[in-house]
Symmetry: C2
């Protein structure tokens, strides 16, 4: 069964609606494709968009920061947020400026975050974060101290509604194909390179030198 997020005034895609997708599987696939997101919020009439790292469990998003940071304290107070994840996949060079575009996958998630205050749930989520990026690493780490927990503000946001937008196609102006200019796509991708050990060395090997979760290519040291 394909489930859709509800459509309403804040998440309905008005322009380019043919690229819009509201189904849970598309939304979650984009959320899971990267750990970088941008959190939109507003303080005293001023919007902010801050990059941070997120993870997901079911239809809940999680991110953390300094417990005293403006973003964490403001959002923990019951204010709404927009969490956006964007993957840029290519520059689409058409024969006209108007048809020039980009290939991308993006998702905007709306909700009202709150603070995770239960210590067991805090630990479970922190472990989940690490498991999603470098499986097995959490149990190898020097355990968190009480002071570190206190200094960390962990937010959870149930996704009330969301909208994904996807373009994955060649230029849309094939009807102008006789115009004498090159047309096509310059693909753009995120890659990881070979891991670089800390200058002071390390007492053990890296378990997962490739971040398999994100389906990135490891292009090595080029």
């Amino acid at each position: 069964m394909t489930q859709d997020f509800p459509q309403n005034d804040r998440n309905r895609i008005r322009r380019g609606h043919l690229r819009a997708k509201y189904d849970v599987s598309t939304v979650c696939a984009i959320l899971d494709s990267h750990f970088l997101c941008h959190v939109g919020f507003e303080i005293d009439g001023q919007p902010h968009a801050i990059p941070t790292c997120h993870w997901r469990e079911g239809n809940r998003l999680y991110w953390h920061g300094s417990s005293k940071s403006q973003m964490i304290t403001h959002l923990a107070a019951g204010n709404p947020a927009c969490v956006t994840v964007t993957q840029l996949d290519g520059l689409v060079l058409a024969r006209s400026a108007f048809s020039t575009s980009v290939n991308y996958r993006s998702v905007m998630c709306y909700g009202t975050p709150s603070l995770v205050t239960d210590e067991a749930e805090f630990d479970r989520q922190m472990k989940l974060f690490f498991e999603q990026i470098v499986p097995g690493r959490w149990d190898q780490l020097r355990p968190m101290t009480a002071q570190e927990r206190k200094a960390t503000g962990l937010l959870v946001m149930e996704i009330d509604d969301a909208a994904a937008k996807v373009r994955a196609a060649p230029p849309g102006d094939g009807a102008e194909a006789d115009f004498p200019v090159w047309a096509g796509v310059i693909p753009i991708a995120t890659v990881q390179r070979d891991a670089v050990v800390a200058p002071e060395g390390a007492r053990a090997a890296l378990n997962h030198p490739t971040l398999e979760r994100f389906s990135w290519q490891n292009d090595g040291n080029r």
Copy 2:
């Protein structure tokens, strides 16, 4: 002479202030390092963070969209925005969860956009956009029609203030180097691949198969 953007309540970095930079050259270097940004704005109490493409001239940012889009009409009406550009450079794996981090370059720019209504300035900016991405292409393109101009909303935002944040370092927990877990950095990068011609072909070659402006590596078809 190094110039700094003014610091005030909305742009001052409170947490991790050692990573904060307010000088114009750092801010502009990050803005120019990518054409993908996220625009933060707020409508009826709901924040939004929308990905789009930006360019810069001096201390003004530009981006465009459908002239009837919610983002364009809302911001053209004199509402404030935050434009954020983020480059993720690596996953910093430390010996503890608390010291785990990412290497990145990000910048948040604040201001109040307005619509570019002068036709000559509209054309000059659209050309500048293309010149910054694929030099020489604007003059090769099928010229914009009056209808296409009308359908395009072009915003300009003078950067009133801005804050950059940069982390480019190995794990900061060398003091715990004896802890038996791997520590170091997994570099992450944006790359472009070989250009893919449109399925219907093209009547001319691509002048600049590499997007030199962004210092991306061309990793070819891997």
